[in-house]
């Protein structure tokens, strides 16, 4: 299988074997998605670019941590990018997050099988979030997609920090029941 046709899981495995061509193909196939992740969470182009670089260096160095079949390879890559962006976000001083970022929307880059798996998870989480009150569902989505902390969520919904914590935890427990049903 040539790098051009290898699927993402195989490309990650080839990175473990220090295959630079596979790394480049992996970057070409996935970097636009991961840039979307670092940009959404960091809301700053320069920081998002720097984070993206660190994410791919990490992927090259830690590709051996990926366990094929664990979950979808693109989800794993998104998780690496999201966790890294969160580390950067939590390390920096709190600041206004209202900077609008112009986004160039491109193709999703998923093959049909990945799209099907992704759409299964997507409809499940969408349905279960739909069972929560709108604000609570929004808070969970904000935590995952924008990396909001409890402090930011409390400010956003104008409730005391401990209240925010309590109601988000209750929402997560309800969500969990639906997600495993």
């Amino acid at each position: 299988m040539t790098p051009a046709t290898a699927d993402i899981s195989e490309l990650i495995s080839r990175c473990v074997l220090r295959d630079r061509a596979a790394f480049r193909t992996l970057y070409e196939r996935t970097s636009a998605k991961l840039f979307g992740v670092t940009l959404r969470i960091l809301k700053d182009r320069t920081e998002a670019e720097e984070a993206l670089q660190e994410v791919y260096v990490k992927i090259w160095q830690r590709a051996d941590r990926y366990v094929p079949g664990g979950y979808s390879p693109i989800s794993w890559l998104v998780a690496v990018a999201r966790n890294h962006a969160l580390d950067v976000l939590r390390a920096r001083k709190p600041q206004a997050d209202d900077i609008d970022v112009a986004l160039d929307i491109a193709d999703s880059g998923l093959n049909p099988e990945q799209a099907a798996v992704a759409s299964g998870e997507k409809s499940r989480i969408d349905r279960c979030l739909g069972e929560l009150e709108t604000q609570k569902a929004e808070a969970v989505r904000g935590a995952y997609l924008d990396g909001y902390s409890y402090e930011e969520l409390a400010a956003r919904y104008d409730v005391p920090l401990n209240t925010m914590r309590t109601w988000l935890r209750r929402s997560l427990i309800r969500l969990r029941e639906c997600l495993s049903a």
């Binding site: 495995s13 473990v16 220090r18 630079r20 790394f23 480049r24 970097s31 636009a32 998605k33 840039f35 979307g36 992740v37 940009l39 959404r40 670019e49 670089q53 791919y56 260096v57 090259w60 160095q61 051996d64 990926y66 366990v67 664990g70 979950y71 979808s72 693109i74 989800s75 998104v78 998780a79 939590r90 160039d104 929307i105 491109a106 193709d107 999703s108 880059g109 992704a118 299964g120 998870e121 997507k122 409809s123 499940r124 989480i125 969408d126 969970v140 989505r141 935590a143 995952y144 997609l145 990396g147 902390s149 409890y150 988000l168 935890r169 997560l172 427990i173 969990r176 997600l179 495993s180």
Partner: protein, 231 residues
């Protein structure tokens, strides 16, 4: 039960304080049920991934990433005495950090979490060099105190042998002997007291006259090198 479920979700979402995050991370290493719960949340939340937009990064990033990921491997020049220069070996050691190292045990077949003591004595280095077809994988096994070498690619060169060198960052390379160009071979660590295979250890392979370097120091060009990192 519910408490741990919510905790795993908070961990995955990144909502915990740094202290709680670290404490939960340690629990994940030792509590398979909690780790499974975190994986379940990660998988379920990934259903939201489609909402991350797809945004093409600037094209200059790839070159910057490759420079950082791959490092600047020193180019072989083939000059003899070049290899006797200590400063050069030190530079190689630093540069080799970016060369291929595989932490065996977190590999493709075994699921997390792992017993750290079971893998602590195993280190793997991939030995390769830009522009060279010769590639080896080296596995150090603390139980036997020897390095198992597997030739991945490369061909014999007429009237030349490959010689394996152990390098740490302060001393001259120590020969581990001539090695076959193909197949697998087991090489004991040199019996000098200060020699240990550990984090930062570099193995290098040079092309030497038949029978190995006549001087006890590398004289030929380096065809493969790699550094081990502690797991």
């Amino acid at each position: 039960m519910d408490g741990d479920r919510a905790l795993a979700a908070e961990y995955v979402l990144g909502l915990l304080s740094p202290a709680d995050r670290a404490a939960t991370g340690r629990r994940l290493d030792s509590e398979p049920a909690l780790a499974a719960e975190a994986r379940l949340w990660q998988s379920r939340f990934s259903g939201l991934d489609a909402e991350f937009d797809v945004v093409a990064p600037p094209s200059r990033l790839l070159a910057a990433i490759e420079a950082r990921a791959f490092g600047d491997a020193p180019k072989a020049t083939g000059l003899a005495n070049w290899w006797n220069n200590l400063a050069l070996w030190r530079a190689l050691t630093a540069g080799a950090a970016a060369v291929a190292v595989i932490a065996l045990g977190f590999g493709l077949t075994r699921p997390a979490p792992l017993d750290p003591s079971a893998v602590a004595v195993q280190l793997v280095a991939a030995l390769e060099q830009e522009g060279s077809a010769t590639k080896f994988l080296a596995l150090y096994d603390g139980a036997t105190g020897s390095v198992r070498l597997t030739a991945v690619s490369g061909e014999a060169v007429a009237d030349r042998d490959l010689e394996l060198w152990y390098i740490d960052d302060t001393d001259a390379p120590v020969s581990m002997g001539v090695i076959p160009v193909s197949g697998r071979t087991e090489v004991p660590l040199p019996r000098e007291a200060q020699i240990k295979f550990e984090d930062g250890t570099v193995l290098a392979i040079t092309l030497e006259p038949k029978g190995g370097s006549p001087t006890g120091a590398p004289t030929g060009m380096i065809v493969a090198a790699g550094q081990a990192v502690a797991i």
